[in-house]
């Protein structure tokens, strides 16, 4: 057994004052400007929305257990999958890793006391919560049935749901995303500790930097688009409605101009986490640092040039299709570079099988498979058949759930000792990692098959021949659900009963491990000075690991 305790016996050190016990009371949390406390606020927020989004996913799988639409009415079912999508995309996936891990770690990793704009940071959280509550208000008062993509003219003319209210919720939440991106960008540019030049920066920070670029440049576009939807719905402006001379496909262009890059807002932070986990658990310098860092930026740039691959069957010109197809293939290259470099990092490493590694390996496998199926969708002739089927649903869940959530959970485990000052139970965490991996594959792999067989997405009822695969998917979802509940239980448990964590339980490099667990409010008693490359395990590890 190589538990954290075994590698680094916790010394009976006491950290009398840290960010958690520096002040008490609800007010001290709700008015905090400490990036670490704001991270905890985000943790509570995204967990809340994830739980509700997950509940709606369970309802979807329940309905699809049988071919007939017999659990809910069609309109209710449509509202359920819309709510699942809206909550998961906008209020869990996009804020999760930047909001929780990004906020907590970015200043620590670059040796700063806080982010550049601490008050703005708190405002970001409030905007996120307000946006989310507005979206929930719409759900409670009757819901919205457009799908999370809000395609026109259905959303602007025909839908009876709370389209505008939901759009306002997403609009407000968009500013949270923009401000977080801005904050991180400025923090990285201006607040790095002495000696931490760009090539000494942890890869997590590179990932956050690339994400911030997309958040700042992309999010305003979806905000404007949703405003146009609201304007057409309320004032009949005739932007997207063909009956008034509008163009419904224009909406798709505007929407995907943000929402495809938004996919990378969700996956780049996950890649950033994996880069840290792999090197930390293999205790070896990351392979190809410059290539992983550069590929993050390349993905951010290319992500803005691929939106048209959502419209291969919408009637856009054949030549536009060609351009978007090849650009979509190009974005696969930096992703492949990352996967190969992570894999090679394990080579001749000192690999520990603790929970963060299990999640990291799970991520690499599922992301690789999800990414490769993405190539099928970039392939013009093939996309025509699988577009808008369960094949797409399976593909993006491999990236979002198999990728982003695996990385998020892996990161949460890896940094939990730093965040909470406690160790989580190693046995149960390994169990949950396996349960999630198995449940995930059983849920979503059958969806590739049923998609290729032709089952369209967003179908309340479906032909009998698709039932077997749908039953498998629902069975897998039940296992997956259990897998998500286990960590929720033991993270809570560990806060009270967990063993005290050492400052550096993994023996990892990185400034965040050179400060107490949990860190003091000001992060570092003395501003650290950086004198070498990151992940320097082979020369300088002893001091940090066993100090």
């Amino acid at each position: 057994m190589s538990t954290p305790a075994a590698t680094a016996p916790p010394e009976p050190r006491v950290h009398p004052v840290n960010y958690l016990n520096a002040r008490y009371g609800v007010k001290s949390w709700l008015l905090t400007v400490d990036h670490k406390r704001i991270a905890i606020l985000y943790l509570i927020g995204v967990t809340f929305f994830f739980a509700i989004g997950g509940l709606f996913a369970a309802l979807i799988r329940l309905e699809l257990l049988t071919p007939a639409g017999d659990v809910f009415q069609s309109e209710t079912y449509n509202k359920i999958f819309t709510t699942h999508g809206v909550l998961m995309v906008f209020f869990f996936m996009i804020p999760a890793i930047p909001g929780v891990l990004g906020n907590f770690l970015l200043p620590l990793m670059i040796g700063a006391k806080d982010v550049a704009f601490p008050r703005l940071n708190l405002l970001s959280w409030y905007l996120f919560v307000i946006g989310g509550l507005i979206a929930l208000w719409a759900v409670v008062h009757g819901g919205v049935d457009t799908g999370w993509t809000f395609y026109t003219p259905y959303s602007t003319v025909y839908s009876n749901g709370w389209v505008v209210v939901t759009a306002v919720g997403i609009f407000i939440n968009g500013f949270s995303s923009i401000l977080t991106g801005l904050n991180f960008l400025v923090t990285i540019h201006t607040m790095r500790a002495p000696g931490m030049n760009w090539m000494r920066m942890p890869l997590f920070c590179w990932g956050m930097y690339a994400t911030a670029i997309i958040q700042i440049l992309g999010t305003p576009v979806v905000a404007i688009t949703l405003l146009l939807v609201a304007a057409e719905r309320l004032f009949h402006l005739g932007i997207f409605d063909p009956a008034q001379g509008g163009d419904p496909v224009l909406f798709q262009h505007l929407f995907w101009f943000y929402s495809h890059p938004a996919v990378y807002i969700m996956i780049l932070p996950a890649m950033a986490v994996i880069s840290e986990l792999v090197t930390g658990m293999a205790r070896k310098p990351i392979f190809g640092y410059k290539f992983i860092a550069g590929s993050s930026v390349a993905i951010a740039v290319l992500s803005f040039l691929v939106w048209g691959h959502h419209m291969f069957v919408s009637g856009q010109s054949v030549y536009a299709g060609l351009v978007f197809s090849i650009l979509s293939f190009m974005v696969a290259i930096p992703s492949a570079i990352k996967v190969f470099n992570w894999t090679t990092t394990l080579y001749k490493g000192s690999v520990s099988y603790q929970t963060p590694l299990l999640y990291a390996l799970g991520f690499i496998g599922l992301f690789t498979f999800g990414g490769l199926t993405g190539l099928m969708l970039a392939t013009l002739g093939l996309d025509i058949h699988v577009h808008d089927t369960y094949f797409i649903v399976a593909h993006f869940h491999y990236i979002m759930v198999g990728g982003t959530i695996m990385a998020y959970l892996g990161g949460l485990h890896y940094w939990w000792p730093k965040i909470s000052g406690k160790l989580y139970p190693e046995y149960w965490s390994r169990v949950s990692a396996w349960v999630i991996f198995i449940g995930f594959n059983l849920t979503f792999f059958p969806q590739f098959l049923v998609g290729y067989l032709g089952m369209p997405r967003r179908y309340h009822a479906y032909p009998d021949e698709f039932q077997v695969l749908n039953v498998m998917s629902t069975a897998g979802a039940s296992i997956l659900g259990i897998g998500y509940v286990i960590p929720l239980v033991y993270f809570f448990w560990s806060m009270r009963y967990g063993k005290d964590a050492a400052d550096n339980p993994w023996g990892a490099t990185g400034l965040e491990w050179q400060t107490p667990s949990p860190p003091p409010t000001e992060n570092f008693p003395v501003t650290p000075v950086v004198s070498g490359r990151p992940y320097d395990y082979t020369t300088a590890v002893e001091a940090g690991a066993r100090g």
């Binding site: 449509n78 310098p285 919408s314 099988y353 577009h387």
Partner: protein
């Protein structure tokens, strides 16, 4: 349980072959990465808490290798995918015409001989079928998995697509684009029939009026004929022999008269005026149903029996074969 839908169109085998290639690439790289990850994790497991890894952390050669090989592979995928895409998006010249109207939540099909169907579609095998599709409300998508064929039907425009069935049978027709409450009920069947069976089907239950005749009747009803007379010199350009021809516009542009241009000229006549005619035509937006528009188009097409030479090459949508039925 089969993992592939039936192959019932000329596209199907091409799409499946492409899929097979991508499955092979996916399987190879998934297994490669999966195996390497597991092997490395076992081979280089931490044997003692103090173990220090070997410092191998860069190789320019490896980075080039795993950039160039994937790049080559995706270029193959791109080229192959594009060639299949061209096949699917270019209707051949000798196709028979079908007219499809999508609305919440049904498919209406009009045959040139006047047959009308609801949520059912009879087609012959071995004969390309060209679909001219319109939506009365929101975006729908015409999807036949057995044909590996899908095309969005976007309101406010015609969506033109084609397929050729190869195997007699009954196949699912789905709406693939979410279109509201009963989206999953917007389904139907495509019946692919041997040519003889198809002829037998056509000869039964005739409606009495061909699509072009119905269009001609509308042409009268809407008083289109008062300006668009058969002989030249009327207030509007004559429509005889016009379909598939290149026409000079007032702004000097040249336009090929196809379904899209005819639609625009009816719903938004001032958009592109033919040279030499005054802007006097009122808009018919909202006055003619999508079904009616399709009938008018069928009528105007029937006034141009022979495909215009040269226009076929210039037009993205090739010219029309004469409606076969008397």
């Amino acid at each position: 349980m089969s993992l592939f839908p039936e192959q019932a169109s000329t596209f199907a085998s091409h799409v499946d072959a492409l899929y097979g290639f991508l499955i092979a690439v996916t399987a190879f790289f998934s297994l490669l990465i999966g195996t390497l990850v597991v092997v490395f994790a076992i081979r280089y497991r931490r044997r003692s808490p103090d173990e220090i890894a070997t410092d191998v952390h860069e190789s320019g050669l490896l980075e080039i290798v795993w950039t160039v090989i994937p790049l080559g592979l995706v270029l193959i995928m791109f080229a192959w995918g594009a060639s299949v895409y061209f096949r699917i998006t270019r209707p051949p010249a000798d196709a028979i015409d079908l007219y499809v109207t999508a609305k919440q939540w049904m498919w209406k099909i009009q045959h040139t001989d006047g047959h009308r169907e609801m949520n059912e579609l009879h087609v012959p095998i071995g004969q390309p079928v060209r679909l001219t599709m319109a939506s009365e409300d929101v975006i729908h998508s015409f999807y036949v998995p057995a044909f590996r064929f899908k095309r969005d039907v976007v309101p406010g425009r015609f969506s033109i697509a084609w397929f050729e069935a190869t195997k007699p049978g009954r196949y699912h027709l789905f709406c693939a684009e979410f279109c509201g409450t009963r989206h999953s009920g917007m389904i139907g069947w495509v019946y692919a029939m041997k040519p003889a069976d198809y002829q037998a089907w056509l000869s039964g239950g005739a409606s009495g009026e061909t699509l072009a005749a119905a269009g001609a009747r509308r042409f009268q009803e809407q008083a289109c004929n008062t300006c668009h007379a058969e002989q030249k010199g009327a207030r509007g350009p004559t429509l005889v022999g016009i379909f598939g021809k290149s026409v000079r516009m007032q702004n000097g542009q040249t336009v090929v008269v196809d379904e899209a241009y005819l639609r625009e000229s009816i719903t938004n006549p001032q958009a592109r005026l033919v040279e030499g005619f005054p802007p006097i035509m009122p808009t018919y937006q909202g006055l003619i149903s999508e079904d009616g528009l399709l009938q008018l188009i069928a009528y105007i097409k029937s006034l141009s029996p022979a495909p215009a030479e040269g226009a076929a090459a210039a037009a993205p949508t090739p010219t029309e074969r004469k409606p076969a039925k008397p």
